[in-house]
């Protein structure tokens, strides 16, 4: 207890230098947290803008290059995939159809997309107005979500009071929302579309007579991060072949696209930029820890006679060491808090001013803070031992 009290007293006596030492370390910690947060935000932003959830998705479609004897994917395939595939986050069924959409005197020919499952993972969930339609239900709910550009074509984008309904292929549909202006390739694909629940599309909107009600255009299986897509593709193919009676000796009736594949170069570029930012952040932590060490050595040198007095009047080596370690730990932990606070505020300021996404990943931050504190303590320990292990007569002189 007396070591801790003396540590607090001692720090208070040198509060100016203590603050300086803590700030030296805090800036390093802040820079590496900020670097990591920018990389995380950048990673998320790239994924969102370029790949969407496709970056970790398997897209199953009919293979048009083989003889049309196996048919397109269907709802039963989806159920089989759900029960047999592991490691997925969501499975979305999609079917589209050509439609005529009318509102007031405006008519437009475009496509309707019916979803079963959480389609926002695929299209994004940014809205200009209203809410998303309920596509997780088996009911044929008459709910429509308009693409931003389609809403503009139908002249309902700028109106103060939004219409309650629109007409799609002569079927009345409740207008529940309008998507936000597209900002990515994926969102652009839905700019002129009407999104609705799958069962409403197949029962009331799709007039094609040559397609069964369970037929799909596409099954999107979104996997959890870090799942190996190649393994899952083989498993999915076995399930699809079994459901459609396709022997292994024949070409598969389905394609399994990894939409992410052509964009690997961009991903590499992203990783490289991230690595550079992290290396710079790491270097700044190292420099900060060294700066902290220099200030600490300076503080200890100035305290040589005080340390000698403490030993001479009865302080044991252990108690003295405990006191000095307590001081270093206090400064380093304070620096960690200051560094975290600094990075939080600077990060938010950057987000506001530059519009970049900042994500602070908590686990990595804990590792960084722990490592920085440990590094500072190790550097400081060298100084502590070099002073404490000197012959007492040297300290007294």
């Amino acid at each position: 207890m007396s070591s801790l009290l003396l540590a607090i007293w001692s720090l208070w006596q040198r509060r100016g230098r203590v603050v300086l030492a803590a700030l030296a370390l805090a800036f390093g910690i802040a820079s590496v947290i900020l670097g990591l947060s920018i990389v995380s935000g950048y990673q998320k932003e790239i994924e969102k803008m370029t790949f969407g959830a496709y970056s970790r998705a398997l897209i199953i479609r009919e293979n048009k290059l083989v003889l049309d004897v196996y048919g397109p994917p269907n709802l039963a395939d989806g159920q089989a995939l759900k029960s047999s595939l592991e490691g997925f986050e969501n499975i979305i069924f999609r079917r589209s159809s050509q439609i005529e959409v009318r509102h007031s005197r405006e008519t437009y020919y475009t496509k309707a997309v019916g979803f079963f499952g959480d389609f926002s993972l695929e299209t994004g969930d940014r809205l200009y107005w209203g809410k998303l339609p309920d596509t997780n239900t088996k009911e044929a709910k008459r709910q429509c979500l308009l693409g931003y550009r389609l809403a503009a074509k139908l002249k309902i984008l700028r109106t103060k009071t939004k219409p309650k309904t629109i007409i799609v292929n002569d079927a009345i549909c409740d207008l529940v929302g309008i998507m936000a202006e597209p900002e990515s390739r994926i969102e652009e694909a839905y700019g002129l579309a009407v999104v609705m629940p799958f069962n409403f599309l197949v029962h009331y909107v799709d007039n094609s007579e040559d397609r069964g009600v369970d037929e799909l255009d596409q099954i999107t299986v979104i996997f959890k991060p870090d799942v190996k897509l190649a393994d899952k593709t083989r498993k999915a193919d076995r399930i699809m072949r079994k459901n459609h009676g396709i022997p292994q000796t024949h070409a598969s009736g389905f394609t399994y696209n990894d939409e992410n594949f052509p964009l690997k170069a961009l991903e590499k570029q992203r990783n490289l930029v991230g690595m550079i930012i992290l290396v710079l952040g790491g270097l700044s932590v190292l420099v900060s820890a060294l700066g902290f060490g220099v200030i600490w050595v300076n503080m200890l040198t100035a305290r040589k006679s005080e340390i000698a007095t403490q030993i001479a009047v009865g302080a044991s080596f252990t108690k003295l060491l405990l006191q000095l370690i307590a001081e270093v730990c206090f400064i380093a932990i304070s620096a960690a808090f200051i560094g975290f606070g600094l990075s939080y505020f600077i990060g938010h300021a950057l987000q506001e001013m530059l519009g970049i996404t900042i994500i602070i990943p908590p686990i990595q931050i804990l590792w960084i803070v722990g490592f920085s504190v440990l590094l500072a303590i190790i550097i400081a320990m060298q100084a502590i031992l070099s002073v404490a292990l000197q012959p007492l007569s040297n300290l007294v002189k």
């Binding site: 007396s2 001479a312 009047v313 009865g314 044991s316 012959p391 007492l392 007569s393 007294v396």
Partner: protein
């Protein structure tokens, strides 16, 4: 019969380059960059006596005090405290023995500037498991009275004059129990009247069974000494 407080036998101490043999016969610098402070030096300090070590600057007074007080290690020879040779103990045991046996008054006082007089006086008590009466204000006042201080306990050490600092340092040495008191120039910063008071206090301690060893070139102290040791004569 007089009891031996500290006995020194064939003490050798060299500063400078290590590893070489001490070549010259006497004290001083040799050709190998070594400064020989002590060579085959022997002496006895008795319990209940006030011994004064004197000599010119650089003659090794402070070094001898450091060696006697276990703050430094001799290069050769023996130093025994009573019948105990602390240099045969482990470093940990020696440190414990040092804390229980010695009290020091440093030439530069060793007061911690940021602390008040009271905090400086009670600093040794923080590190020792002593009965509560040692921590009492009465004990502090007694030590201050012995050191001829009449200052508020709350005053910061940084605000004291040289003489006041030395007297507080003396008081700090007296608040804890000890067997041997080592003082390095205790009267250097004091006026004559206060020097006499301090000398009487130190002599009184010796008469009460303590071993008091003082390094000083102040001739005023010589009249109080039971034993005078001149380092210049070897």
């Amino acid at each position: 019969m007089t009891q031996i407080g500290i006995s020194v036998h064939n003490l050798g101490k060299v500063f400078g380059k290590r590893g070489g043999e001490v070549k010259n016969k006497g004290v001083g610098k040799n050709g190998d960059g070594q400064t020989i402070i002590f060579k085959d030096w022997s002496c006895v300090f008795n319990t209940g006596e006030l011994s004064i070590i004197y000599g010119r600057s650089g003659s090794g007074k402070t070094t001898l005090l450091s060696l006697l007080g276990l703050l430094d290690t001799p290069d050769s020879g023996d130093i025994k405290i009573g019948n105990i040779n602390p240099y045969k103990m482990s470093a940990r045991k020696r440190a414990l023995f040092r804390r229980q046996t010695f009290s020091y008054i440093f030439q530069r006082t060793g007061l911690i500037d940021g602390m008040s007089i009271k905090q400086n006086l009670t600093l040794p008590l923080r590190y020792r498991a002593l009965p509560n009466n040692y921590k009492s204000v009465a004990n502090l006042n007694k030590a201050m009275e012995q050191a001829a201080i009449d200052l508020p306990l709350s005053r910061k050490a940084a605000n004291l004059s040289g003489g006041e600092r030395m007297r507080v340092a003396i008081a700090r040495a007296l608040v804890v129990p000890f067997e041997i008191l080592l003082c390095d120039e205790p009267t250097a910063a004091l006026d004559e009247e206060t020097s006499h008071i301090i000398c009487k206090t130190l002599l009184n301690l010796a008469r009460n069974g303590k071993t008091v060893i003082i390094a000083s070139h102040d001739p005023l102290m010589h009249e109080y000494a039971d034993c005078l040791i001149n380092l210049e004569e070897g």
